[in-house]
């Protein structure tokens, strides 16, 4: 019955109610669709890093004056008693020439297994017998390299046995503009060791293993965990997203103010009615309930529409900016919609609180005399 009363009161000032609902719709849609878009953006970026969370990079500790990783360290790391792949990396920059064109490019020394472990081959094979090389996508394009081409690297001839696919952002090795030659042919020292552990849980164990073996006397190496880097990137995305949602929240705030406004108007217009209801036995809480229910109805109807719209809105914005969306309804999307809904209803009720409180606390006699 209170519900009916509230509904009828709202329909009495239909235009006003509709405007208030539109305000809530805009506010809820704004925060929810930005939330959904941000989440999708984060997901897309995180996916482009690929599956590197289980990677650990061992680097010489330059702070202590170590500039290379010695063979003994490589041996010790290979002995780490948990499943994983150990890839020592030798790196330097050399002059590379092909058909009279010269470039100064990064050259990595890896073994054949490491290539298949880390990258995908676009053309040819990963064959890295002595005198063979594999070219990154970018350098192959810029020098017009083909499978079978002969290039001169640091004064020695290598035959291209394969060309890599274009790679996204990486932290360990950036292969697009690099050439990979056999580890044994590479004159430089080992400058890093990439360790791919099969289980994420083994990372802690690996760190204490290094402390207990390699770094037992001197801090020879430091360890870069991909997981903590990824975590930090994700955290940054979450913060940016929260910030954007807070900005969108301003529109919800405006909607709240408009509800406050129309509810205050409505308490003033209905002063006499409030007096009548108090005279025939309504307690303060009854009046409070009626007005809060009106605010609640505005909030709920606006938020339902807003949340639904923003699932569609988030989809289109994501599609427009990122070009692709994996799925419309996943748990995070729904979570954001539910969150937006809750914010919308909350805003409406908080805005209705003061007018409702004022209505409830009118002096019955004064309200009744009001014309």
């Amino acid at each position: 019955m209170y519900l009916q009363l509230a509904l009828r009161n709202l329909s009495r000032a239909r235009v006003r109610s509709v405007l208030a609902v539109i305000g809530i719709i805009i506010g809820v849609t704004a925060i929810t669709s930005i939330g959904i878009f941000g989440e999708n953006l984060k997901k897309t970026v995180m996916e482009s890093f690929g599956d590197i969370a289980n990677e650990v990079i061992v680097l010489p500790n330059s702070k202590e004056g170590f500039s290379k990783i010695d063979d003994r360290t490589v041996e010790l790391i290979r002995k780490f008693p948990y499943p994983g792949t150990v890839i020592p990396v030798r790196a330097d920059s050399f002059e590379v020439s092909y058909k009279g064109e010269k470039r100064y490019v990064a050259v990595y020394g890896l073994d054949e297994r490491a290539i298949t472990e880390l990258f995908k081959i676009a053309e040819g094979t990963a064959d890295l017998k002595s005198g063979r090389c594999v070219a990154g996508y970018g350098i192959a394009e810029s020098l017009n390299l083909r499978v079978g081409s002969r290039v001169v690297i640091d004064g020695r001839i290598y035959r291209v046995s394969g060309i890599l696919e274009e790679e996204g952002a990486r932290f360990d090795i950036r292969p697009n503009y690099a050439i990979i030659i056999p580890e044994k042919d590479h004159p430089a020292d080992v400058s890093a060791i990439i360790v791919k552990l099969e289980k994420l849980e083994d990372i802690e164990g690996f760190k204490s293993y290094i402390e207990a073996t390699v770094n037992i006397k001197d801090e020879k190496v430091e360890i870069l965990e991909m997981k903590s880097i990824l975590d930090r990137i994700e955290e940054a995305f979450n913060q940016i997203n929260l910030f954007l949602m807070a900005i969108a929240g301003i529109s919800l705030l405006v909607a709240g103010v408009s509800i406050l406004n129309i509810m205050l108007m409505s308490t003033i217009e209905r002063t006499k009615e409030i007096g009548i209801m108090r005279a025939i036995g309504a307690q303060k809480v009854d009046i409070l309930k009626i007005f809060l229910m009106e605010a609640g109805i505005l909030g709920i109807s606006g938020s339902v529409v807003g949340a639904t719209l923003s699932i569609a809105g988030g989809y289109f914005v994501t599609k427009l900016i990122l070009g692709e969306v994996s799925e419309i309804l996943n748990t995070t999307t729904v979570l954001f919609a539910v969150e937006g809904f809750a914010f919308g209803v909350g805003t409406a009720i908080i805005s209705g609180l003061y007018p409702a409180w004022r209505a409830a606390n009118l002096e019955p006699i004064e309200a009744l005399r009001y014309e």
Partner: protein, 228 residues
């Protein structure tokens, strides 16, 4: 026990710029089941007196007892309970809730009492019958004549079976014929044991009352019994 007792009651309205003595040193006892008319010129304090009985307001001085309970010490929610369970109001302006139908208006005091929906509906229908308006049950106040609205208002005042019915110029906005109908209903209620306090300045209505209290400038100037 007297239903209503005024014990040297004064009511002074103070505003920032002036003060009005609406009632001054009123002593009055109203018996249970009595039909009392309060008469006097405009501004003499009639409505103020009625609102005090109706627990809508408290006296500035003195004490009012409703069924033996002194009201000056009661809190807002206690006054509301008392009002809802003991008192029915009928106003000159009818004061129906415009968004509600006749039936719903009558149900409203029972809703505030938290009565069951079914009981509410049944009683509201019966009250409509008592005031002779079964056929307007679903109409909104704007779709009813003044007389019909006032009869609905009386039915609403009776919803929670009050012992005291307070009527502030109930016929003031009605023509004499419909006014008569309303008065007939009120006098029938008296016969059923309801205490009726009728504020009016229509001299012709005093024949319905057992006693007439005359007010002037906030004081009782005359109390007389009406012999029928």
């Amino acid at each position: 026990m007297k239903t209503v007792v005024f014990e040297s009651v004064s009511k002074i309205y103070r505003t920032r710029y002036y003060q009005v003595v609406a009632l001054e040193d009123i002593n009055l006892e109203i018996e249970r089941g009595e039909f009392i008319a309060v008469m006097g010129p405009s501004g003499s304090g009639k409505s103020t007196m009625l609102n005090l009985i109706g627990c809508l307001d408290k006296p500035t001085e003195g004490e009012i007892y409703i069924k033996g309970t002194p009201i000056s010490g009661l809190r807002d929610h206690e006054l509301t309970d008392l009002r809802r369970n003991t008192i029915g109001f009928v106003f000159q302006q009818f004061n129906l809730i415009p968004t509600l139908s006749a039936l719903e208006n009558i149900e409203l005091p029972m809703i505030f009492r938290k009565a069951e929906a079914e009981e509410r509906k049944k009683r509201a229908e019966r009250l409509l019958e008592i005031v002779g308006l079964e056929d307007v049950a679903d109409r909104k106040p704007v779709e009813m004549s003044g007389g019909q609205q006032q009869r609905v208002a009386i039915a609403r005042a009776l919803a929670n079976n009050p012992e005291i019915l307070l009527c502030d110029e109930p016929t003031g906005n009605l023509d004499s014929k419909t006014g008569e109908q309303v008065m007939e209903i009120l006098s029938r209620l008296r016969e059923e044991g309801v205490t009726v306090v009728l504020v009016t300045h229509d001299e012709s209505l005093k024949r319905y009352a057992e006693r007439v209290v005359r007010l002037r400038d906030g004081r009782i100037v005359d109390v007389s019994s009406v012999s029928t």
